[in-house]
């Protein structure tokens, strides 16, 4: 098993907390982590659709790089990884 830290901001933080430590099986991907996180709150639809696909507006940071929701299935996690989730931005 791996421990993965997930940090959320703005509206995602209201729904899923500022930070969660998830226990995931070896071989889990970023998409798996987002799906598990979505299941921890009453507003899973904010992060994933009915088929479990990450919504395209979710901005994902992993190891200082942005990951497209479409590519999250391809990114393998290792124990201790940190994922940051941003809702659509509204600065400026």
């Amino acid at each position: 098993m791996m421990k993965i830290q997930v940090r959320c901001f703005a509206r995602f933080q209201d729904a899923f907390g500022e930070e969660q430590i998830l226990d995931l099986p070896d071989g889990a991907t970023v998409r798996d982590a987002v799906r598990v996180l979505a299941g921890t709150g009453p507003d899973a639809g904010l992060l994933v659709d009915a088929e479990g696909n990450i919504r395209s507006y979710v901005m994902i940071m992993h190891r200082d790089e942005r990951i497209s929701p479409m590519d999250a299935e391809e990114v393998l996690l290792v124990d201790g990884d940190v994922i940051i989730l941003f809702p659509p931005v509204s600065g400026g």
């Binding site: 507006y57 942005r66 400026g92």
Partner: protein, 134 residues
């Protein structure tokens, strides 16, 4: 200067600093808090990512538009109506590059820099959240 601050921003300071013998055009964007029936605006940031993003945006604009100077200062935290949220000041030899660079920088900030607005109203607070970005 590329910065994120919780303090009020004085745009004049950056406009004065942009004056340069090689600069023929200084274009400034000042974003302010608009009264949309709100009491105040609260901005949250992921500073570690946002500051890095702003530095990359500035660097790319400097190269792409051959700028002599570029300043981006974004305020976060609670702000009142008319307070300055964002200042972008770019200096270039000619106006075309300066206008284009300022607009490009602003659009990049609005597209992906992790900063979020929350309206503070009498009946509660509400994030700006546009699902149609999907």
């Amino acid at each position: 200067m590329i910065a994120i601050t919780r303090d009020p921003i004085d745009p004049d300071r950056f406009i004065k600093a942009a004056k340069n013998p090689k600069t023929g055009g200084i274009v400034t964007f000042i974003g302010t808090v608009r009264d949309d029936g709100i009491e105040a605006l609260d901005l949250e940031v992921c500073e570690e990512v946002a500051l890095s993003d702003l530095e990359k945006i500035a660097s790319q604009a400097r190269d792409e538009y051959n700028l002599n100077s570029v300043d981006i200062v974004h305020r976060v935290g609670r702000m009142e109506i008319t307070d300055v949220i964002l200042v972008i000041v770019v200096g270039a030899a000619h106006r075309q590059e300066a206008f284009a660079a300022c607009s490009s920088i602003l659009e990049s900030i609005k597209q992906f820099v992790p900063i979020w607005k929350k309206d503070i109203r009498k009946d509660g607070a509400r994030w700006h959240f546009h699902e149609n970005q999907e």
